[in-house]
């Protein structure tokens, strides 16, 4: 429970720290607001966390999802908001998180993003980072690796997915209006997804070392 709240704080930190970078990436092929919007959402999440007293992990994630939906706007609000709400559903009423549950949460989050955004992998969206990440995570679990190791595999796959978004033409989101002019640029949503995974991985590694 405390770990999950810490994880949310880590997510807020990484997004807020990269506000300008994300906005710059979005400006190249979108409308230059991804960093600003996500940072506004996670500032609100920070404020809520400071006062709210959620009972379980599910309640924490639900609060994060609702806050993102009602403060971010744009496409990222409904997408990330839905992702957290769906992840919350997996761990409703639970106090402890294990690797299996983490994998299920990622799967539920991805399912929510696909439904809400009516998107699939290969359309230059956050899914291009998240889906390979999930597959790598499950691969790690099957091989009996630790949570931190699975997270490391997932982050590496997300990074490869992020690179892949530079090589494809957008067919979803505002970048899709550009067609070929979107080539050569990485997707802003895939970037924020990668950043969040990377930050969570650092956290998991640190905690595993502490024992």
């Amino acid at each position: 429970m405390a770990n999950v709240i810490l994880a949310i704080e880590v997510l807020a930190d990484i997004i807020i720290a990269n506000k300008e970078k994300l906005t710059e990436i979005d400006a190249a092929i979108g409308d230059a607001d991804h960093g600003i919007n996500m940072a506004r959402g996670f500032e609100a999440v920070r404020t809520k966390l400071a006062t709210a007293k959620p009972d379980d992990i599910g309640a924490v994630l639900k609060m994060v999802g609702m806050t993102l939906i009602s403060t971010v706007g744009g496409a990222s609000g409904p997408l990330y908001g839905t992702a957290f709400m769906r992840a919350a559903g997996v761990v409703q009423g639970q106090q402890v998180l294990n690797s299996d549950k983490a994998g299920q949460m990622l799967a539920a989050a991805i399912g929510g993003i696909k439904e809400r955004g009516k998107a699939v992998k290969g359309e230059k969206t956050m899914l291009d980072a998240l889906e390979p990440a999930y597959e790598a995570f499950q691969g790690g679990l099957a091989a009996g690796k630790s949570l931190a190791e699975c997270m490391e595999l997932a982050t590496a796959a997300a990074q490869a997915g992020l690179e892949y978004t530079k090589t494809i033409i957008a067919t979803k989101g505002r970048a899709s209006y550009l067609g070929e002019r979107s080539l050569g640029h990485q997707d802003a949503g895939a970037t924020s997804s990668y950043l969040m995974l990377a930050a969570l991985t650092e956290l998991a590694k640190g905690q595993e070392q502490e024992g």
Partner: protein, 381 residues
């Protein structure tokens, strides 16, 4: 600024003691130069922000909405606690409610069109960012006069998702909600892209005509049908001479060389089809109208409405020069211009540039277009 200075301090602390003593002069000079550079950079950044007449980037939407209500109390009132403006007499019993909205920064869209003969409610998102579902939901609740509510959405992924979520929430309340998606921008169109085209200034014609239909007491399905008919017959395209500055970003959303223009960019500063050296008003207008007419072929005797829309940084003088050329081009084809709108209708903050919109009319659309409207930004008898 604080963060950057803290980082510099950290660098000093990580140097070991002897080194710090030995190279104190050099390091001091280096740090000093760095600080001066950072300071200069921050000053320049602030200088750009100061070039806007605002108080606080976080408060622009709130303060704007307060100003709109103070200016037009006879037309609009605020839904308490939300970035939603509705007709002063909302909800109008027995009338289909029309709700539009989107990111702020497009003024007078959308609140400027709240009033008799057009919209019932407008939702203002953050600058260039679609409003959140809870905001749209409050607008729907505030304007529902028992006949249902039509959502007029511009075709952006974020707008569609947020408005759809709001529609789901209103449905759960038992409010009938229908929606239409405006996609008039031919610039970066390609019908094989599933997401389709952007929605821009043509949206104002949807507000006008669907609004007039709703005023006749027509049901939700009828109002939706007319809105869809406008969308099927309206096309736009724009160009930009200069970028805009989103207050929260504090710097231009794109950059253009001195003699360069962006053809077909979006109303949020999204890139367009290409960049080219600036040409005359006539040449540029011809290029845009050609693109529109390729997509919306017109025959001799066809009737149209024309909108020459300024993006916020272009003076009426230039818009009228453009309109002169649009009229000439349509005249050559013996197309009849029934009504012309020239001015700032769907802006992009202070972006210099314009868009041209052509709406092909039939008898029904013509009658509704010419019907009276009484709103802060559009009054017609």
């Amino acid at each position: 600024m604080m963060v950057k200075i803290t980082k510099v301090k950290t660098q000093i602390d990580t140097l070991d003691q002897p080194t710090r003593k030995k190279h104190f002069g050099a390091v001091g000079f280096f740090i000093g130069t760095l600080l001066a550079l950072i300071f200069w950079h921050e000053l320049m950044k602030e200088a750009i922000i100061v070039k806007k007449i605002i108080n606080n980037a976080e408060q622009v939407v709130e303060e704007m909405l307060q100003g709109v209500v103070l200016a037009h109390p006879q037309y609009v009132k605020r839904v308490e606690g939300f970035n939603v403006l509705v007709r002063a007499n909302s909800p109008v019993a027995g009338k289909v409610g029309l709700v539009s909205g989107g990111g702020s920064g497009h003024e007078p869209s959308h609140a400027g069109y709240v009033g008799k003969g057009m919209l019932d409610g407008a939702v203002a998102g953050a600058v260039f960012t679609s409003p959140t579902p809870d905001q749209v939901y409050e607008a729907v609740r505030a304007v529902d006069g028992g006949q249902g509510v039509l959502l007029i959405i511009k075709n952006y992924t974020g707008d569609i998702m947020n408005f759809e979520m709001a529609a789901e929430m209103a449905d759960a309340d038992g409010i009938k909600v229908a929606k239409v998606v405006v996609n008039d921008d031919v610039a970066v169109e390609n019908s094989t892209w599933t997401t389709g085209r952007r929605g821009i200034a043509g949206t104002v014609f949807v507000h006008k005509i669907a609004g007039a239909k709703a005023e006749t007491g027509a049901g939700l399905e009828e109002v939706q049908r007319v809105a869809e008919k406008v969308i099927a017959n309206v096309r736009s395209m724009g160009m930009a001479l200069s970028p805009c500055i989103v207050p929260a970003a504090g710097k231009p959303s794109f950059t253009l060389a001195e003699n360069e223009v962006e053809i077909g960019m979006g109303i949020h500063g999204e890139p367009g089809t290409h960049r080219e050296a600036i040409r005359s008003a006539d040449e540029t207008t011809e290029h845009l109208v050609d693109k529109i007419l390729k997509d919306l072929p017109l025959a001799a005797g066809d009737e149209v409405a024309v909108m020459v829309n300024g993006l916020g940084g272009t003076p009426p003088m230039e818009l009228y020069i453009i309109n002169r050329k649009v009229a000439e081009l349509l005249g050559k084809q013996q197309v009849v211009i029934t009504k012309t709108f020239v001015g700032n209708y769907m802006t992009s903050l202070e972006m210099a540039g314009f868009s041209v919109t052509i709406l092909k009319l039939d008898a029904e659309l013509k009658e509704l277009l010419l019907a009276p409207a009484d709103t802060p930004a559009l009054v017609q008898y």
